[in-house]
């Protein structure tokens, strides 16, 4: 074989390989937004819990998202997602996930999966689309919104699944465990602003303005940072029935050392339990419910539990129906936080709920139109710190045109 034909063969093989192993998706999401709210959005340093606040009527960028996934070798996949949200974040476009996943072929009904890098913990039952977008609405529930804001597993996760099919069971059972770092600030946004409902994902090097600025030298929150040198962990269990119904439970503990305060962000000790179920019903109706309960603490204390401790709790119920190219979704979110220690220094207290209705129309494989209305109402005591009434009702109507290729 002459060298040129060898080179041709090699390049053809490479072309074949690359066509085979990589999927790249780019999506642009443009929004028309109408807001009825007395508050500025948290994205502008306000205490509003939606992505758009009082003065944000008009055309907005939802996101530009680029996602690449594929194989490096036969059993090792990669996933990389970058997003731009157009709201003055430090980097105009930044990574939200970047990881490697090793899936060795199962040689018995037990199969391993291991991920390393930066990725989402297996908590959300809504964020199933490319780029971790919700499949059912524009904005995620309060629980999964918080996951997108303050959480990323930057570390290692491994899961072991007992496959049911070879043994004639119609369900698989998995256990998952992870060790990670760079999640010490997790809790600060929930502490200051309470739960929110939106679709903005914090990028790995992203920042947000602080809702309540105490030190004017550091007006922004930097989310993914390692302060105390301790790794955190989570462990969970999942059952998947008939390949479609999903039950999940997960315990999360970032093992933050609350005595570590000499950093840009002090360390938050954040722990929670998360439960979720997604059930596929007849007529292509999907029902999802998730519940989360835990606490977050900051500041040195004699017992090491934290100077200020805030309990938090949220749940939601979602119903969605796919009808041909149409999808209709309704969701109710309940959101609570309560300061159980140190409230006289800073009283973080939220008592709110939210209704979300959404309609999505998938015109073809490229175009999707989405309309969503949210009404989030309740109180947030922290607003008193900056002279605002605690109670507020925020209403948002947004229309999104999404083009992906």
């Amino acid at each position: 074989m002459r060298l040129s034909s060898l080179a041709l063969a090699v390049s053809m093989w490479m072309l074949g390989q690359s066509a085979l192993a990589h999927e790249i998706t780019a999506q642009i999401d443009l929004r028309a937004v109408v807001v009825d709210s007395p508050l500025d959005s948290f994205t502008e340093g306000g205490t509003g819990q939606l992505r758009f606040g009082g003065d944000d009527d008009g055309l907005r960028l939802g996101a530009v998202m680029i996602d690449a996934a594929g194989e490096i070798v036969d059993t090792v996949r990669y996933g990389v997602t970058a997003r731009a949200t157009g709201d003055g974040d430090r980097n105009p476009i930044d990574l939200t996930e970047a990881y490697l996943e090793w899936r060795p072929y199962a040689s018995s009904p037990l199969r391993w999966k291991t991920r390393a890098g930066a990725f989402y913990a297996p908590i959300s039952l809504e964020n199933r689309s490319v780029g971790w977008d919700s499949l059912y609405s524009i904005s995620a529930s309060a629980i999964n919104t918080w996951m997108g804001e303050e959480f990323r597993t930057i570390g290692l996760e491994t899961s072991l699944t007992a496959l049911g099919a070879p043994a004639g069971r119609n369900f698989d059972v998995s256990i998952v465990a992870s060790a990670y770092g760079w999640n010490d600030p997790a809790g600060i946004l929930l502490f200051q602003r309470g739960w929110g409902v939106h679709d903005r994902q914090t990028a790995l090097f992203g920042e947000l303005p602080r809702p309540l600025v105490q030190d004017p030298n550091i007006p922004n929150i930097e989310f993914f940072d390692e302060v105390d040198g301790r790794y955190g962990y989570y462990a969970g269990v999942e059952t998947r029935i008939s390949g479609s119904h999903v039950l999940r439970a997960l315990h999360y503990d970032n093992r933050g050392d609350t005595a570590e305060e000499d950093a840009r962000e002090p360390t938050w000790l954040t722990r929670f339990d998360s439960f979720g179920a997604r059930v596929e019903l007849p007529l292509e109706i999907t029902a999802i419910a998730q519940y989360m309960q835990g606490d977050t603490a900051v500041g040195a204390s004699a017992d090491g539990r934290g100077f200020i401790i805030v309990d938090f709790e949220s749940w939601f119920v979602l119903m969605s129906q796919q009808y041909g190219r149409h999808r209709y979704t309704a969701r109710y979110d309940r959101m609570n936080t309560e300061t159980v220690r140190g409230a006289r220094f800073f009283d973080s207290h939220q008592d709110a709920d939210a209704w979300t209705v959404a309609y999505l129309f998938s015109f073809d494989d490229h175009w999707q139109l989405a309309a969503e209305a949210i009404r989030l109402a309740g109180s947030l005591r922290q607003r008193a710190e900056i002279g605002l009434p605690a109670r507020a009702t925020e209403r948002l109507l947004q229309l999104a045109a999404r083009y992906s290729f």
Binding site: A19, L20, A21, E23, A69, E71, D74, T75, R77, R103, Y105, A106, S107, S108, P109, R128, S129, V130, D133, L135, T161, L163, A165, P166, A167, G168, R169, N170, D172, R240, S242, G243, S244, E280, Q322, S362, D365
Partner: protein, 159 residues
């Protein structure tokens, strides 16, 4: 040669009945790549990631039940029923299978389905065939489970 396709991230058909020694082509009709494998004792194999038609079919040279999966899409599951029997097939949506041109004689009739708990997978009865058409029926103790559903929405990525 028989074919088991992959359509909308699911195997089609869900159950493929073949005679021992039959080569099967696992054709991928999806825009995403699949990685088909099995660790069932009658046939262990792995097809490295591919689009479209794989280079080689897989020959099933021992009778038995072979469960196939996709290493990337955990929801995908399919079965090959590999048999030495001279007459076999899969039932249609109406639950009926028709065998033609069978010589008269004594037969053993077996049905198998993975849509029941495993101890109820296999049902057997004896049947005598004469010159006339004969019907045999199996009454199942419980309703079959639903087959695994394909994932039609290309946006879904949580595998």
């Amino acid at each position: 040669m028989a074919e088991m396709d992959q359509i909308d991230r699911q195997f089609s058909p869900y159950v493929l009945a073949i005679h021992t020694g039959t080569p099967v082509l696992f054709a991928n009709n999806d825009s995403v790549a699949h990685q088909v494998y099995s660790f069932s004792p009658p046939k262990r194999f792995e097809l490295a990631l591919y689009h479209g038609r794989p280079r080689e079919p897989v020959v099933f040279d021992r009778p038995g039940i072979v469960t196939v999966g996709c290493n990337i899409h955990d929801n995908m599951v399919g079965y090959l029923y590999v048999t030495d029997a001279p007459w076999f097939g899969t039932t249609g949506d109406d639950g009926v299978w028709t065998g033609r041109d069978l010589p008269a004689g004594e037969y053993e009739l077996q049905v198998w389905t993975p849509l029941l708990p495993p101890h109820e997978w296999l049902h057997t009865q004896s049947i005598a065939l004469g010159d006339q058409a004969t019907r045999a029926s199996f009454k199942l103790k419980r309703a079959l489970r639903p087959e695994p559903v394909p994932i039609k929405d290309k946006r879904v990525r949580d595998y």
